[in-house]
């Protein structure tokens, strides 16, 4: 089987489930979610244990290397988690999609992420600007639907419109950037682009203009400042599982593409220095804005949106820190994203559960969570500690390697900003911990009904797995590295 068989399998799974959803009239929709999870797990197992040889295939535009493999893993894992989350979130969906008690529309919500997943997986392998663009749009268009999915909820609709308009705009920039790249180098394939760039004679400004346009388009995907404006509103308005998907799946795929697209620009002498300066400035702005704007937030979902921006900043620092001739930036970014998957999904999972059990996304809705369900509060605490970058959690090593790279490249000013950002993180992440443990649930009964939260076995196991993963890779990071 060719390497891209995995993507084909995922698409087939999606189509099959769509048919099943259409022709099966009775029965709970959660069965579809179950099948989706099982199917994706099988693909994941095949991805990990299937022994395809690395190389380039499909007319040279499909790269199959360890990076691609790992990012496909991230895409699959986050999709599985998002579908599991959606099952717990079904009550909220129903409230805002149907006027009656029927389950219509619920099925699609379990199936759409599968198609997005196929796009994300293809993104991980794309080595050609056209392929990149097509894969990216597959994902983005699926997201347009998912973000606006709760059609009777104003917030969700508003988020949908904002995401659509700004997404379309960024796509425009991306296409424009691709055109300019083609104009400068005469090629779409990244290898040929690299060759073309290194042969530039005379002014490098057209090449840099192309780079800037590409950065605008991709900066939108990874939520880097100043292309972050959509993030807080869309994250807050979209259904929580979709937000999680945006925050992890979409961002991870955005970063692998960014790494691949930047590689030729960073290797070619004429564009290298300017590209690094641009990236460093973007990193600094993202760190400052993401972290400082998170401080006054009182809505946990919005808080996580700013946190997502700030993590994009840390990741950009790694890319902006040039270390000659070694793949440290790739390793750092990839490790960071692996850790980010576990900790962010953990937080969103718990957010979904709190919301679905009569609470709200507001900070006050988390009051007294430790009394309502100890496991959820503890899980959230671990997730937040990891996002804040406390040692012995996976998130610490992410930041640790980033700081290390910044020091190695003598980017002291950027390191200082990163430290400032991390310090601010202590405050806004701990704010949630404070709500969960200090405050009593009955003081905010309107937002957080005092009753305990019962969770299903599958959810319990998933949360435990995420907690263990977050802690485990914080103590033994070497194992995560061995996967790429």
């Amino acid at each position: 089987m060719p390497a891209y068989g995995l993507e084909i399998a995922v698409v087939c799974l999606g189509l099959l489930l769509l048919l099943m959803d259409a022709f099966r009239e009775k029965g709970a929709k959660s069965a579809i979610a179950g099948l989706a999870v099982i199917g994706l797990l099988m693909v994941l197992v095949f991805l990990v244990f299937g022994t395809q040889e690395t190389g380039v295939t499909y007319w040279g535009v499909y790269e199959w290397d360890n990076w691609a493999k790992f990012y496909k893993g991230i895409a699959l894992a986050s999709t599985i988690l998002v579908i599991l989350m959606s099952v717990d979130y079904a009550e909220v969906f129903k409230r805002y999609t149907n006027t009656d008690e029927s389950q219509s529309g619920l099925g699609e919500h379990y199936i759409l992420p599968i198609f997005a997943c196929a796009g994300l997986m293809w993104m991980a392998s794309a080595r050609d600007l056209i392929t990149i663009f097509v894969a990216l749009e597959t994902v983005t268009i699926t997201f347009y639907v998912m973000v606006a999915f709760m059609r009777h909820n104003v917030g969700s609709l508003e988020a949908g419109v904002k995401y659509l308009i700004l997404g379309a705009l960024s796509t425009g920039f991306l296409v424009f950037g691709i055109t300019w790249t083609f104009g400068v180098t005469g090629a779409f394939h990244l290898d040929a682009v690299g060759e073309g760039l290194s042969k530039i004679e005379g002014s490098s400004i057209p090449a840099l203009f192309a780079l800037v346009l590409l950065l605008v388009g991709l900066g939108f995907k990874i939520a880097a400042v100043p292309f972050h404006l959509w993030v807080p509103d869309v994250y807050q308005g979209a259904p929580a599982p979709v937000t999680a998907f945006l925050s992890v799946g979409s961002k991870a795929a955005g970063f692998i593409i960014l790494l691949r697209v930047l590689e030729p620009f960073l290797q070619a002498e004429p564009t290298r220095d300017a590209a690094l300066t641009l990236l460093a400035i973007m990193a600094a702005a993202t760190l400052l804005f993401g972290n400082l704007a998170a401080i006054p937030q009182t809505n946990v979902k919005r808080l996580l949106a700013y946190s997502s921006i700030s993590h994009a900043g840390f990741l950009l620092v790694a890319i902006a820190a040039p270390v000659e001739g070694n793949p440290d930036a790739w390793r750092t970014v990839t490790f960071y994203l692996g850790a980010y998957l576990a900790m962010t999904m953990l937080c969103f999972f718990i957010l979904c559960l709190v919301r679905a059990h009569g609470g709200s996304d507001e900070l006050i809705g988390f009051s007294g969570l430790s009394e309502r369900n100890g496991l959820l509060a503890f899980g959230m605490l671990i997730g937040l500690a990891s996002l804040a970058g406390l040692p012995l959690t996976a998130g610490f090593f992410g930041k640790f390697f980033v700081f290390n790279l910044a020091l190695q490249s003598k980017l002291y000013w950027l390191l200082a900003i990163a430290i400032l950002g991390a310090a601010a993180g202590f405050y806004y992440y701990f704010k949630v911990a404070k709500s969960m443990y200090w405050e009593k649930a009955d003081e905010a009964v309107e937002f957080a009904p005092g009753q305990t939260i019962e969770i299903s076995m599958v959810t319990r196991v998933t949360i435990l797995v995420l907690i263990v993963a977050t802690l485990f890779f914080g103590v033994v990071p070497g194992l995560l590295f061995s996967w790429f």
Partner: protein, 483 residues
């Protein structure tokens, strides 16, 4: 990998914490494990080979290939002293947990175990990453403990303050440690390799690394002017947390400086010597006066513990063997005495409506045990002969003077600092004796129904005093561990 005694000491509190989290009976298990760990600690102390200056009980497990990070344990003399201090204070702290806790007993005890276990781990590891990581283990538990179980109306802001201070301090520290690692040019976080390789860091880099380290570690030790988190936090925290923080965790910063900065960054020391001398005088004299003006006993003890850190810095700045020994003995003595005082302060808090010194009086009549032991703790803290604090302070003052007059025959800045710092002893005597007289003596009758310390909570306090006296009369008990 073989299991060494150190593994047991480091992992026991953490394993206990996990067991309690999943449902084991909290109080009994924690008490049992703390006794067991103290026994292990004494065992470590007696099994340590005093003729061998290197690291002992070494064991290592690789967790990351490049850069090399290992879960590596091992102690030298300095490590043994601090591990011993930690297990003793931890034992006393666990036994000082109040009988009735409002809220979750589980959370309370798990937090104490994590704070204490983290401190033990930080002193017992020889890997730079775990050294840092273990210390950070205390951050969240401290935040929650002060917020949920703390005292006083402004405990929320105090909890934020300590968390932000310690968080920022440790981030600055992280930057300094990473820089130190890169400047040394080895691909390993093993401290011994780093120290060996790092002796030839160029002077300019040393200067800036040292500055980062002194700000980072200094914040954790509450070096003036980074001290303002400490006293309010100790006052607001539940008793066992104050005991662990003031008694043990605070020593982490000095331990780090002694372990890393002293052998690796001599030029850094030289570059910032005068600055640090001024800052430590800030601790001894300025904070000394601040302490005198305190109206509440808990804050007074908090500031007094901040003040004494100035002496430790003075010993370190002397950069000679006597000074080094003096500092180590001081860490041990200060840890025990401050834990004792905070334990008794906590006992007193349960018995009287306010800790305002002027409002109290005659407590000794109703609670003689409390009074006598508080008196002993106060004497130790002032530095009266017979207690380990005396021995350590004398050594530090001697060390600061030892190298004679400066090059031009004049008196050195270190000696001037020492002369001024000696006055700190007088300041200590003023506030401690005044507080003691007001609270325990005097005409005033103690309030009705004031009881003495409960029988089963007395023995840990006796243990602390015994440690202070033993190390005070035979300082060699501790000092012969050091090279």
């Amino acid at each position: 990998m073989e299991i060494s005694l150190l593994h047991l000491i480091v992992l026991l509190p953490l394993v206990t914490a996990v067991m309690i989290m999943v449902g084991a009976p909290a109080r009994q298990l924690a008490q049992g494990s703390s006794v067991l760990n103290a026994v292990f600690g004494v065992l470590l102390f007696s099994l340590f080979d005093r003729d061998d200056a290197g690291f002992q009980f070494v064991a290592s497990l690789n967790v990351l290939e490049s850069p090399g990070i290992n879960f590596a344990l091992g102690v030298d003399g300095l490590g043994v002293v601090l591990v011993l201090l930690s297990v003793i204070v931890m034992l006393c702290a666990v036994w000082q947990v109040p009988k009735r806790i409002e809220g979750s007993e589980k959370l309370y005890i798990v937090s104490i175990l994590l704070i204490g276990g983290g401190a033990i781990g930080a002193f017992a590891t020889t890997d730079l990453f775990f050294f840092y990581a273990f210390h950070e283990l205390a951050l969240i538990p401290t935040f929650l403990m002060i917020g949920i179980f703390g005292h006083g109306p402004d405990r929320t802001s105090i909890a934020w303050k300590i968390t932000i201070y310690l968080g920022v301090g440790s981030l600055v520290l992280l930057a300094g440690l990473l820089w130190l690692y890169q400047a040394s040019g080895v691909e390993s976080f093993d401290m011994l390799t780093l120290i060996e390789a790092g002796k030839n860091i160029d002077a300019e880099a040393q200067k800036w690394i040292f500055l980062l380290l002194i700000i980072g570690f200094g914040t954790l030790v509450s070096l003036f002017p980074f001290h303002s988190w400490a006293a309010p936090a100790y006052a607001a925290a539940p008793t066992p947390v104050s005991m662990l923080h003031a008694g043990v965790l605070k020593k982490f910063g000095l331990y780090g400086l002694l372990r890393l900065a002293v052998p690796m960054l001599p030029e850094g020391f030289a570059a910032w010597e005068n600055l640090i001398l001024v800052l430590l005088l800030g601790n001894v004299i300025f904070i000394g006066f601040v302490t005198i003006s305190q109206r509440y006993l808990d804050r007074l003890l908090g500031y007094s513990s901040v003040m004494h850190m100035g002496y430790a810095f003075l010993g370190m700045m002397a950069l000679n063997e006597v000074g080094y020994n003096g500092v180590v003995l001081m860490l041990f003595a200060h840890g025990l005495s401050v834990a004792l005082l905070f334990a008794l302060c906590g006992q007193l808090r349960e018995r009287v409506p306010t800790l305002e010194i002027r409002e109290l009086g005659g407590v000794a009549k109703a609670a003689p045990f409390l009074a006598v032991f508080f008196g002993l703790g106060a004497f130790a803290s002032i530095g009266l002969p017979g207690f380990a604090n005396f021995a350590s302070e004398v050594m530090i003052f001697l060390a600061a003077f030892k190298d004679g007059l400066g090059e031009d025959g004049g008196i050195t800045p270190l000696q001037i600092t020492c002369i001024i710092a000696v006055w700190g002893v007088v300041i200590s005597a003023v506030y401690m004796l005044r507080a003691y007289r007001n609270i325990f003596q005097g005409e005033r009758e103690p309030q009705e129904g004031l009881l003495d310390v409960a029988m089963d909570q007395r023995w840990p306090l006796v243990l602390l005093v015994a440690g202070l006296v033993a190390a005070g009369i035979f300082p060699n008990l501790i000092l012969n561990l050091l090279p």
